[in-house]
Point group: C2
Chain length 454, copies 2
């Protein structure tokens, strides 16, 4: 047969075993935190009907969706673009089997045909926790709090979850007398605050025809809590109070401020560290489907190579389920940017020592052809005791080469059983890291191994 | 916006939380066994280049492959059809980073546009362990042994891994004077033994023009170890010896019998229970790429609803990697039929009591609006101690309704904190299964919870 050049699709990755072990550590840590908050695991198919995905993300985003089809099939399918639309499709289809609230998490790959660039892939994992069916701010507080707990459990301390509210942003726009297109332009300008600064935003608003006196008031409001890392819930309450005075008489703003106040109170009740919470009235977030509180987590780092953008994001999207069922249901969630977190964790080496390059704990070496069966028996005994054991299987390699193999793979311990050891019912166990070596009776091998592995 | 009918693609499934928990138990159990044998986790993308998949499985199989493409993209992609071809593609692409042998496992979904029917899906999981780079029968023995260990660890006892060798089958054909098309027909007839019986196979062979005296000898050979569950390795050796005498002078058969003998000896050295091993010279397996030993596991059950076909299969395929690199490399593996196993395990309820319908261990109820913050604080304390805790979040529901909610969801324990308990720094913990109830100081809640959960 003709040879085929082995090749990966553009922007897609293989994960070598050492990669998988690190990624699994991150995924297991996060799913453990999600479960402690009572979110249940859910899985949906990789393929959805194209119709399910279209019309939810905005035109530019939808251009990135991969289409799929069976050549003989009639269904127009697509690979999921995120885990949120599959959740609402799932809920509408299965609600008779579910109780409200439905709290689920989902950690799985999604596909986007983005232009490949460093650190951006066309298959990548998302990591979501959402609550369907609760309008109250307890659910929003849990979404923020679970993100804070997950980031802290992974070892992050210097980060802030920025919090804002879409209703407040609408209220600020109404207060400025804007509607329709002009309101959207206002969000777009505010969203640029981090990039173009206060003067840049002010200029854009003036260019859009907003009166200078109103622009001044808007700028004062949106910067009143911007990057104000006062590390206290009292300061957050004060900032909310100040806006409440200014925006009195704008119902949408009042509703947004009420929600923010309840959210902050609930975060306090959930013992969420205030140092990781940052009210930010200038934060907008891109997605059009948000309807209330919005969240976005950033790492606080001076290292330019660690400027990866937001590492978590979410909010309330009370209208989305309404696309699939008669009445909509209140829904709120958070998505952790697991690929960016892994990038930073790799860079900083934030993994515990137990996360090795290999799963193997012991290599059972083979002295010669005659002793091979005895090595197999010993490997089988260790496996029966739960030890992750590799039997050396290459032919005609001396013990030196076998040690080299273990060293290259990162296997911590090598077991040696030559004819003498076998005759005495013994085994020699050697820890490669410090060359510590003990010869013990095989009946004591398990205890010795455990102490060598500790 | 217009409503969209929530809909799944044909033959695809959502896994509700209770499904995911059972499936995760099975996957974790099997991956634990794979790791004890020293197989490392590998992950490859869902999408492969179409060119990678085509020409490996046979025409009929390839008709089932889903195609994928980005509308603006140039690459012709496909969803993986199994995990074996992605492994050899991966190996050829990454071998400079790997040591030989490369032992990997992979548990992940694959896609096939099969006609949907009961228990057959278009997205389903495969569960593979393979060894690249070892020609010796130790690798084959580990493939068989790891399947036996995994099935036993899941709680199966009554099953047999049938073992045969493609070289032996070729030898039997040569012995009968067959080649080319006639040889393929021979395999096809032998493969039907379980369906059409000894007389049916005999008739087919005679119809294909094989002399009656040769047909007699073939039938005697292929049935000599068929379903001969003598539960001893000595019997297997005897059966091999008998064929060796008959086929002396047919080199391919001798090679196949040598391999079988070594395989059996290695299975013995690995302490693989003989009751689960069944030499079967009539077993063929469909895939064309096998070159040596082949394996197939079946459950031994009298229940017609449990006749699910094979629950594991594999073998040696020494030529496949040669499609992607200059020289091929010996490769052998096993694939567990995880979907069929889960079907049987669900039917027999083979899950440990710890596998519940929900991850949640405690529901913290809310007495009224005034005590809600205190319930949140308590939920947060429990979460900090690693207890999977749900805070009740629906508004205006009495304690009775909250108990009903816990009961419906399968949450084992409800924590109640009314104004009296809060004033005394206490909490009431009630186990729903037996209505056992204790009121303890909040400082002792954790110990009490652990004993109630045991």
């Amino acid at each position: 047969m003709n040879k085929i050049r082995p090749q990966l699709p553009t922007g897609m990755r293989d994960y070598l075993p050492a990669d998988v072990l690190r990624r699994q550590y991150v995924i297991n840590t996060i799913s453990g935190v999600f479960e402690r908050y009572g979110y249940e695991p859910l899985q949906t198919p990789v393929l959805e009907m194209q119709e399910t995905l279209m019309g939810k993300y905005g035109e530019d985003a939808e251009k990135l969706i991969f289409h799929a089809k069976h050549p003989m099939g009639k269904e127009e399918l697509a690979l999921r673009y995120d885990l949120t639309v599959p959740l609402v499709r799932f809920f509408a289809l299965n609600e008779s089997k579910l109780s409200l609230p439905f709290k689920r998490y989902h950690i799985a790959p999604v596909w986007r045909a983005d232009r490949p660039q460093r650190g951006r892939y066309r298959e990548f994992y998302q990591c979501d926790a959402d609550t369907v069916g609760i309008a109250g701010m307890e659910a929003d507080a849990e979404a923020v709090s679970v993100a804070v707990s997950a980031l802290r459990e992974l070892g992050f301390r210097e980060f802030a979850v920025k919090i804002n509210n879409r209703k407040l942003l609408i209220g600020i726009g109404q207060y400025a007398g804007l509607e329709g297109e002009a309101l959207s332009n206002l969000y777009r300008s505010i969203d640029k605050l981090d990039k173009i600064g206060v003067d840049g935003v002010r200029k854009e608003l003036l260019d859009n025809g907003i009166a200078a006196s109103i622009v001044d008031k808007i700028m004062k409001m949106i910067t009143s809590a911007h990057s104000d890392r006062s590390d206290s819930y009292a300061a957050a309450a004060q900032n909310i109070g100040a806006l409440r005075e200014e925006l009195d008489g704008t119902p949408s703003a009042m509703e947004g401020l009420d929600e923010l106040e309840q959210l902050v109170n609930n975060l306090m009740a959930l013992n969420t560290p205030a140092e990781n919470i940052d009210l930010d009235f200038s934060m907008v977030r891109g997605l059009s489907y948000y309807t209330g509180p919005i969240f976005e987590a950033v790492l606080l780092s001076d290292d330019p190579e660690e400027r990866v953008g937001s590492v978590a994001g979410g909010g309330r999207y009370d209208d989305l389920i309404g696309l699939f069922r008669k009445d909509t249901l209140p829904t709120v969630g958070i998505s952790l940017g697991i690929e960016r977190l892994i990038y930073i964790m790799d860079k900083r080496n934030m993994y515990p020592p137990s996360i090795n390059r290999t799963v193997v704990q012991v290599l059972v070496s083979v002295f010669n052809a005659e002793t091979k069966a005895e090595s197999m028996r010993f490997a089988s005994e260790l496996r029966g005791e739960g030890i992750r054991t590799e039997l050396f299987m290459q032919d005609n390699k001396g013990i030196g080469k076998q040690f080299g193999y273990a060293d290259k793979k990162g296997i911590p311990i090598v077991a040696v059983m030559g004819p003498d050891e076998i005759a005495r019912g013994e085994v020699k166990l050697k820890r490669l890291a410090d060359q510590h070596e003990v010869t013990v009776l095989r009946t004591q091998a398990l205890d010795t191994l455990h102490s060598l592995l500790d």
